[in-house]
Amino acid sequence: MRSLRTEELILNMGPQHPSTHGVLRLLVTLDGENIVEVQPDIGYLHSSVEKMMEHRNYTQNIALADRGMDYLAALVNEMAILRAAETLADVPVPERARYIRTIFMELQRLASHLLWLGTYGIDLGAFTAFLWCMRERELIMDLFEATTGGRLHHVYFRLGGVNEDLPPGWTDRCREFCHYFLNRLDEYHRLLTGNPIWQARTQGVGVLTREQAVAFGACGPVARASGLQWDVRKSHPYEVYDRVDFQVPVYTEGDCYARYLVRMDEMRESTRIILQCLDQMPEGEVRAARVPLNLKVPPGEVYTRVESPRGDLGIHLVSTGGETPWRVKIRAPSFVNLHALTEMMKGWKVADIIAILGSIDIVLADVDR
């Protein structure tokens, strides 16, 4: 019997596609319904941030880091820039400011994971998840707005502290939100975790082994779902992460469901961190005195990393002693996770593209910078 002659088909997805989470273009080579190869075409949101940072001083770079990098984790980006600059220039940071920073970064992680869960719900056909997550995200936005004045872009952290102290009554509101949110989290679990459709779409799909994860440099929840026990908050502690008690969720399956569970567990841990910080936070100054806005960072180089909601966000800062950095290399977590996607997708069906793509939680501004 003669076998049927088949040809491979190249399918173009994007840059405008409702499920690519931004302006990502995927060139998918298909054999029938099976994926042979996926080639992401990126750069549709390349904003030349690294070039612009060379022309702005460090305070201005904080504002740029909000917008130009991963816009869903603006405060974590600010921290990334500040960690590099403060390490190199030995800027002291008051205790209270460290606690405030930690609280805000964890709130940012919650907001980011909530948006991911909502959009991933839409991707897999669960619209309720989107509405619920947006509802809770608005409450976080209110907490942000009360302190920083911004919803997405805050420009709240400064060299040597934060811009201003928390408004009166904020800590109680935040504590109230945390307890409310823990209940909501249980509700999400009831809605999705045991849902047979959800499990069928995600369990066993898009597996990335631990070895592949390390080889591709995968980080964050993607790496942790593949069994790599690694969180920058634990391995390179910054701010007050070494003073609070939290677990790093790790799963070994490496599939979309494991990535979902990692993020769900992370949200619970983030809430725990916030509650502990609120309890431990001392009174006092929130900004070191006599740190000029146009700080001259002494010549030198440093590579520091922070844990963004998407993974290990690194900054290689090169200074020649001026007000502006000589070179800033942003090591973006989404960039490497997107590269790992090419390996994850091999052999799966067309319908799984969206499930796998959604599960790695990329932000195109972070990929392209």
């Binding site: 080889a215 391995s235 390179h236 440093v302 290689h316 290399k329 090591r331």
Partner: protein, 229 residues
């Protein structure tokens, strides 16, 4: 994984740094060199302070007014808060293979591969980290700025594939042996490599044409008025 012993930056045990220098004598420990330069600077400062004290005493003995104290100087020595090694191009591949495979190093995670343009020279940078031992180091390789070429490491770490493409795109560094070296962020027809310090932006022709078409729609006149195109 134990937390990093240096909470502000990366960490590499000194015995490992010594081991690397022993295995490859050509490799230069930038942090070590900076430390030596800083010590020399401090010695010089002490010397100046001592001389000043002598002058003060001499002036006192002669009954003259005391001389002005020397200006406080900041050292121009760069600080390396991350362990940094300068590796010559000739032994670059060997060093990288050694760092990845040596059981004491086990640098199995490449954080990024990039470059720095110093205007007169260029350096390729690689940051390595070990998922096993949680130590890290930065490798810097000087390359010729006019014709930057360096062997690829994408066969050692798969992740380097994209990082090298990005560096090629933005700096024009050619990675020899890379399986698929083409632009990744910018369009295929882009002129120049924008992260070089001497880059000058130029509108692509098709963008000028697109803006001209749009302009003609605004004015409602075909063919368009003016010299805007």
């Amino acid at each position: 994984m134990t937390p990093s012993r240096n909470p502000s930056g990366g960490f590499l045990p000194p015995e490992l740094a010594a081991r690397l220098r022993e295995r490859f004598p050509q490799v230069r420990d930038a942090a070590e060199a900076a430390r030596e330069a800083l010590e020399a600077f401090e010695r010089e400062q002490e010397e100046r302070q001592r001389r000043y004290q002598e002058e003060v005493e001499r002036a006192k003995a002669e009954g003259k007014p005391a001389p002005r104290p020397p200006r406080k100087e900041e050292p121009a020595v760069p600080r390396y808060r991350t362990p940094t090694f300068e590796v010559p191009r000739e032994v670059f591949r060997e060093v990288m293979e050694f760092l990845r495979d040596d059981p004491a190093f086990r640098m199995d995670y490449l954080s990024f591969a990039s470059a720095i343009d110093w205007k007169d020279r260029m350096e390729c940078t690689y940051h390595l980290w070990s998922t096993v031992h949680n130590h890290e180091l930065l490798v810097k390789v000087p390359v010729d700025r006019d014709d930057p070429r360096i062997p690829t490491v994408s066969d050692l770490w798969r992740t380097a594939e994209w990082h090298e493409r990005e560096t090629y795109d933005l700096f024009g560094v050619v990675y020899e042996g890379h399986p698929d070296l083409r632009r990744i962020l910018l369009t295929e027809d882009w002129k120049g490599h924008p992260l070089r310090k001497d880059y000058v932006y130029e509108d692509p022709d098709w963008l000028v044409e697109l803006a001209r078409v749009r302009q003609s729609e605004v004015s409602g006149v075909q063919p368009p008025l003016g010299e805007r195109g």
